[in-house]
């Protein structure tokens, strides 16, 4: 099964909105750091429900926001959630971005990059479409140090790349980016039940859940095009 089938199913049963709600806890902090200027064009790779572009437009931060996703159902949902004429969504794949060289000011991607069939190629595609000085804000919850994420692959029918913090930095540099920042952003908003409710369906111990969300949170790597 590919990205299309897997995520079309997610979009069809409303999981796009569920992800948006959960991811927003950390995504908003990363988005707030982007050095956007009001004339900028931002692209969201693997946009899902498309919330990132809407948020950047609603705060007046950017001129245009585009979202790309490999699942036509996701893109259809995303489009239905806004009628801002400066927002657009397109179907497309991470391996073959349909944007011209130097056409984008900043690229955002949340919990999507590691689904790329060839992540090194995706990085060089991103570098190609960004103008000099443009940034790639790459946010993932699924990464090597976050041991609690390792089992996620079992539930998803698309092969996932599990890099460590250092592998992210190295791959960014190999693709010609300067690495400007790497950080783990804690999710301080997710509700963590009290001690006596553990084990829960998902978590054996409260410590594990605390570690997953409050400590490992979301790994953000920021690359800048020289």
């Amino acid at each position: 099964m590919g990205v299309r089938e897997e995520f079309d199913a997610w979009a069809a049963d409303g999981r796009d909105k569920g992800m948006e709600a959960r991811h927003w806890h950390t995504a908003k902090h990363a988005l707030a750091r982007m050095p956007v200027e009001s004339g900028d064009v931002v692209l969201d790779l693997g946009c899902g429900s498309g919330y990132a572009g809407r948020a950047l437009r609603e705060t007046g931060a950017v001129a245009r926001a585009y979202g790309l996703d490999g699942s036509p159902e996701m893109v259809g949902n995303a489009r239905s959630y806004t009628d801002d004429p400066a927002i657009g969504y397109v179907g497309g794949d991470f391996n073959a971005l349909p944007f011209t060289d130097d056409s984008i000011d900043h690229v955002w991607s949340m919990e999507a990059f590691y689904y790329a069939a060839d992540p090194h190629r995706t990085l060089s595609e991103i570098r190609r479409i960004l103008r000099p000085g443009g940034t790639f804000y790459c946010a993932v919850n699924f990464y090597e140090e976050n041991v609690h994420s390792h089992q996620w692959q079992e539930f998803i029918d698309v092969e996932m790349t599990r890099w460590s913090r250092e592998e992210y930095r190295a791959a960014f540099r190999d693709a010609g980016f300067h690495v400007a920042e790497q950080d783990t952003i804690p999710d301080r908003e997710i509700d963590i039940p009290s001690e006596r409710e553990f084990p829960t369906e998902e978590w054996d111990t409260r410590e594990a859940m605390v570690e997953r969300y409050r400590e490992y949170g979301t790994l953000l790597t920021v690359g800048v095009v020289p």
């Binding site: 590919g2 790309l68 490999g70 497309g92 011209t100």
Partner: protein, 64 residues
Amino acid sequence: MKETLMDILCCPLDKETLELEVTQTDQSQTETEIIDGELVCAECGTKYPIEDGIPNLLPPDMRE
């Protein structure tokens, strides 16, 4: 999709210019919305559909 998107779109395969063929538009909005049509690569001729206002630029072999 809005026509302004054409400024930055290209063929995902060879990154060449796309030509826009419009079948249906929606004029009710401030900026004309292209509802149905096709994007055709000026170089390799690959066609990408625009359906329900969304351009699908997945490479042909990933479309189904």
